[in-house]
Structures are given as C-alpha cells and as structure tokens.
C-alpha cells in the first residue's frame, strides 16, 4: 500500500493564452516550442529509418512521448544555464540549438557527429550550447549537474544547472547523493525526473514504494512538483518557476514529469510487457497533438501556418540527412588523439 499523503505539489494543467503570456511567452515563442517538438520527433522518426537501412551501428534509442517534457524544460532555461540531458531528451538538444545534421552524423558514427564517432546515439552534447554529454550510467549526470551548480555558487554567478534522470535512475545512489548535497548547500540546480513508467521492462511498482518520486524532494529539504509531462506549457511553467527560484538563491526543485515511454527501451525491444491499453490511453495524450490542439484553440494556429511550419521542418530534416550522409567515416589513425587533454583544450567558454 502506498501512502495516501501527497507531499509534492501537483501542478495545474496549462491555461489560457493570457496566462501563458504572463509567464513570458509570446506567440513566436509558442510557435517555436511547437517547431522544436516537431523537429525532435522528426529527428527520431528519421533515425528509425536510418536504423532500418542499416546505417546506425549498435542500437537506437528515442524519447517518443517525452518531447513536451524535454522541450518545455529547455525553453525555460536561460542562455547561460547548463544541463545534462539524457537519451529521452532530444528536445533539449534541439531547443538549445544543436543542428539536426550533426545528430544524424552522431547516430551513424560519422566524423561530423559531436563525438566524431567515438560515442553513439544521444551520448553527445555541445558544451558551447551549455550541454554536458551524458554517459550510459544514467543517474551519474545528476551529481555532475550539482557540481556545475556548485561552480556557479562559488563564483556567485546567476546561473542554474539542470540535471535530468528517468524514474529508473532515481533508484541509484548517485541521485540520492547529488540531491542531498544540493539540498544541504541550497545549490542552483533543478532536477528533472522524466517518469516514463518503465525502466527497460521494470514497471514503477517494482521501482519505488511511494506515490510520487517528487515526494522525495521533501527528504532533501526542497520542493517537489509533479507535472503532466505531455503538457508542454505546464512543464515550461513549472521549470521556469524552479529555475528562477534557483537563480534567486532559493535552492533546488525536483520536478517529476509524468509520461509514457511510447516505444521499447531501444529499437531491439518491442515492449511486449507494456499493456496495449496503456499505450492506447497515452497515445490519446500525444504531446505534439495536445499542443497542436491548444495552439489552434488558444493561439489561432491556422492551416496555412501549420503547413508552412511542417514543410520547413521536413526540408530541414531532409537537408540534414543528406549532409550527414556526406559526412566521412572517422579516421582510425585519430583514435589515440585526445585521451588526455592538452592545455589548449582549456580554451573554451567555460574555462576562460
């Protein structure tokens, strides 16, 4: 039996256009959010095609169903904020400005991918865009985000770090140590937990014994919020609040975004263990479709605008694919380069 007491705050759904404008989003921002979600899904859909064509080595992972959570949080970050997005958070890379052709090159292990073929799938980041490359040991990036926040606090900068994890990763000690340290020091960090209900094949009732993972925030001395992760504007509002609170010295927040992983763990997994009805129920809450409906109802999105936008995205992705396919294979002769950094490597924006 789970506790009947709700500790974390349950966030309201997104509201009217007027309300959204009060959070600082104008109509162009709203359309940009939709564009980023379309690009995010488009990149991953084309990734599937590349995989089936045998052009992606290894396995292939997507974040279908998580687009609103990723884009909503990334839109709420400031230009100098940093984050550690994971493999369901493609929308963060897109929103921060990573060009899709480089993502396709990364998928295919080509020389122009952000890791130049040295690492695969979404194990990448452009540090110039404020992103830190994830590792496979997922919760590992939470305390790394805490370390970034520690640097900001020591230097008294008004910057915030955002650390991502899934609900699966929340079971590991890294999550506990990172959140506890952040809570003790009231560091400017926001923890995003994408609760997509399945850690590979393991359902939530075998992962934790409380109502909401965000309830754990109380144990670390900061606020927890549960938000519908398919509602991009609600995610944006909660992330914005938490980020600005952290920026103002108010300490961390743990935001649990509730979603469903709409595909298998990776392309090799057909997710036979997820009840079909669950997929059907969550398909009705598809983040892109929900937001499209909201835009039509509240922000006068019309057919012509929508057509123009989807056309633009399609062209962007087609060009990106072509450019990525033209990218050369990495040169094995370079394998040894950069195992150790040289002093010139410190000539980056973060080390100046």
């Amino acid at each position: 039996m789970r506790s009947a007491v709700a500790i974390a705050r349950l966030a309201e759904p997104s509201g009217s256009l007027q309300e959204v404008k009060e959070w600082g989003l104008d109509r162009e921002d709203l359309l940009q959010i939709y564009r980023n979600m379309l690009i995010t899904r488009g990149v991953e859909e084309r990734g599937h095609i590349l995989y089936r064509q045998g052009k992606i080595p290894g396995s292939f992972y997507t974040g279908r169903g998580n687009e609103a959570a990723a884009v909503g949080v990334a839109m709420a970050m400031g230009p100098d904020d940093v984050g550690t997005p994971l493999h369901r958070d493609m929308g963060v890379h897109i929103t921060r400005g990573v060009e899709p052709w480089r993502i396709f090159a990364q998928y295919m292990g080509r020389a122009d991918g952000p890791t130049r073929g040295r690492d695969g799938n979404v194990h990448m980041a452009d540090v110039r865009l404020g992103l830190i490359a994830m590792v496979s040991h997922l919760p590992a990036m939470l305390p790394v985000a805490v370390g970034a926040a520690l640097a900001f606090r020591i230097r008294e900068e008004r910057r915030v770090a955002v650390g991502w994890s899934g609900e699966g990763a929340m079971s590991r000690g890294d999550a506990h140590e990172g959140m506890n340290f952040a809570g003790v020091r009231r560091l400017p960090v926001v923890f995003i937990c994408d609760n997509n209900q399945w850690a590979y094949s393991t359902p939530t009732h075998l992962e934790y014994a409380i109502d909401h993972l965000a309830d754990r925030a109380a144990a670390y001395g900061f606020d927890g919020v549960v938000v519908d992760g398919t509602d991009v504007l609600a995610v944006y509002r909660e992330a914005r609040r938490a980020i600005e609170k952290a920026r103002d010295g108010g300490g961390p927040t743990l935001i649990e975004c509730q979603t469903l992983r709409m595909e298998g763990h990776a392309v090799h997994d057909d997710a036979f263990y997820v009840p079909k009805e669950l997929f059907e129920r969550w398909a009705e809450r598809d983040p892109l479709e929900r937001y499209r409906t909201w835009l039509r109802e509240h922000a006068d999105l019309n057919d012509a605008e929508e057509e123009e936008m989807t056309g633009q995205v399609k062209r962007l992705l087609n060009e990106a694919l072509q450019r990525a396919e033209e990218s050369p294979q990495p040169d094995p002769a370079d394998l040894h380069d950069g195992v150790y950094a040289s002093p010139e490597d410190l000539d980056t924006p973060h080390h100046k």
Partner: protein
C-alpha cells in the same frame, strides 16, 4: 628552502595554488573545520572561506561528480577521499565520466583527487590500500605517487595545473615521518618524469611512494651498487628512465606496496622484457605485497608489506645471479 614534512609540503603546494588561482577549491569530508582527517587542509577554511573549502556530506559519489561538474564549468577542484580506499564509492565518476569526457565529448575535466593511501599502521583492509594500478589502467586518468616532500609540493601544483583528472596518491606512512628541504617559492615537478633517488651500477630498483625508502634501506645493507628509480608517477610513467637504468645495470627489481597480480609492476616488467631483453643479465624480479587484502594485525601486516629484509634478499639474489 624550508624543512617540511611530506604532509606540510602537500599543504604548502595546495595553499600556494589557492592563493594564486581563485578557481582552485577544496571539497571533501571533514576538510574544512577539522582540516581533513590528516590535517592537510588545516587552517584553510579560515583563510579561504567555507565556499572554497567545502565540507561535504559523507558522499564520495557526490564529491567526485561535484568535482567533475565544477571542473567542466571552469573550476579547478581538489577533492579529497578521506582514505584512498573509499575511492571505490567514487569509481563510476572517475572512470565512467571524468576519464572519458575529453576523449569522447571534447571537454576536459581538470581536477585533482587526493588519495591518502598505503599501510604500515594497522589500518586494516579498508584504510591501507594502494589502488594506483586500478586507475593507471583507465585511459584518461593520470596517477601521481610522490615519495619526497619536494616532489609532493611540486607534483600537487603540477596536478592542479594539469588539464586532466589527476589522482594524487599521498602515502600516509610518509606524512609525518619524512622530512626534507622544500623550496618556498612556487614550482612544478613534471608529471611522468622519474627521479633517480640513488645512483648505482649493479642492480636497478624501480619503485615509487613509500617503497622508495624501503629500497634505500635495503640498498645500504647489500654489498652492491644499487640504483633506485623513483617513478613519481605511474601514469604516465617514465619508460625511458627505466630502460636507461636497466641498460646500465642489466639487473632489475620492481618493487611496489600494492598486491602482485595486476599490480603496475607487471606492466613495467613486461615493458622491460619487450624492449630491453637483450640488456638483461637476470630475469626481472618483482617484490610486492601478496594477493590478499591488507591485514590488520601488526604481525600479519608486516608479512604483507614488503620489508627491508625482503628487498635486501631480492637484491642479493639478483647480484649473485
């Protein structure tokens, strides 16, 4: 020059860098108010404040990951494991994140991890280990093991300056026992360069850390001219200096306090066999701790850690070969 203990030399180097470079900060368990379990950072919090000398919760993962995140954001963290043994709790962040980040993502992680290591005082299985070979095996990490106060200061400064994650193994048994003249000004000792601790012509001892002194004592007990090569760092290690010494003496004893199988001595012996076989007049000899955990009882620990008489016997056997 000033006479300093090995411990004071580490403190002096660290303090020098913290005064010089505002990016340098210290984090670890009990490093602030208490000054660290061994008092290496005693008085630091008074001088630098509680945001540059950070007492953390008992969380080695958060310490190491925190250092990684801060280093990625342009800081120069110096993290402390209270005992080197506790680095097992931070393994993932050293090996998975910090070691590989430059190579795969292009982002350097310049931090220093201080690891009070080594036995000799009944610390038992969890307060006595020498885990340098585990980390020397990981591409992307550097492992430094100074033996003298002068090297301790010069290497801690070099480690802080280095753009990579550097593990600084400071031997606890040397902390207050070993004293020496240390330059008062700032200087660095290059990482990856060995030092000839004692020149000789009959047999070479390749070693590092506290074993330098064991070798020295053993050398004075044998009737032979013994050269002692103090590696000072095991990754990168000074292959050239080792091969030069081997070519000079033609007999070599590799000595370390770490356990035998997979210990770094194996790598050194293999390299000598590959690159200096024709120069050898005797098989390469290894003296190491046995393949057991570090025991607690003084009687057992003496049987575990290579002793002067063990090394002297090994030297005599090599000389007589």
């Amino acid at each position: 020059m000033a006479e300093m203990t090995y411990l004071q030399a580490i403190s002096d180097g660290l303090r020098t860098e913290m005064r010089r470079d505002r990016r340098v900060f210290v984090l670890g368990e009990d490093v602030g108010v208490y000054g660290g379990a061994f008092k290496v950072t005693l008085g630091f919090q008074e001088e630098f404040g509680s945001w540059r000398v950070i007492d953390t919760p008992l969380s080695e993962t958060a310490i190491m990951a925190g250092a990684t995140g801060a280093a990625l954001m342009g800081m120069r963290p110096v993290a402390e494991m209270q005992f080197a043994d506790f680095v097992s709790c931070a393994w993932d962040h050293l090996v998975t994140v910090a070691a590989k980040q430059r190579w795969r993502a292009g982002t350097p992680v310049p931090f220093v991890l201080r690891l009070p290591s080594g036995g000799g005082f009944s610390g038992g299985p969890f307060h006595s280990q020498n885990p340098e070979s585990s980390f020397a095996h990981i591409p992307g990490l550097k492992c430094v093991c100074p033996a003298t106060p002068e090297d301790a200061k010069g290497l801690i400064i070099a480690a802080i300056e280095d753009p990579n994650p550097v593990l600084f193994f400071e031997h606890k048994h040397l902390y207050r026992r070993i004293k020496g003249e240390v330059p008062e000004e700032r200087y660095t000792v290059p990482i990856g360069k060995a030092r000839i601790h004692r020149e000789g012509t009959d047999v070479s001892v390749i070693t590092w850390g506290a074993m330098v002194y064991t070798a020295e004592e053993a050398a004075s007990q044998v009737d032979a001219s013994v050269e002692i090569v103090d590696l000072r760092s095991v990754m990168p290690w000074d292959k050239q200096a080792v091969l030069e010494s081997v070519r000079k003496t033609s007999k070599v004893l590799v000595l370390h306090e770490d356990t035998r199988s997979g210990g770094f001595g194996g790598e050194i012996a293999a390299t000598i066999a590959e690159e200096a076989f024709e120069d050898l007049d005797a098989p390469v000899r290894r003296i190491t701790a046995p393949d057991t955990p570090v025991p607690f009882s003084p009687v057992l620990e003496k049987a575990f850690i290579p002793q002067v008489e063990d090394v002297a016997r090994g030297l005599r056997e090599l000389v007589d070969y």
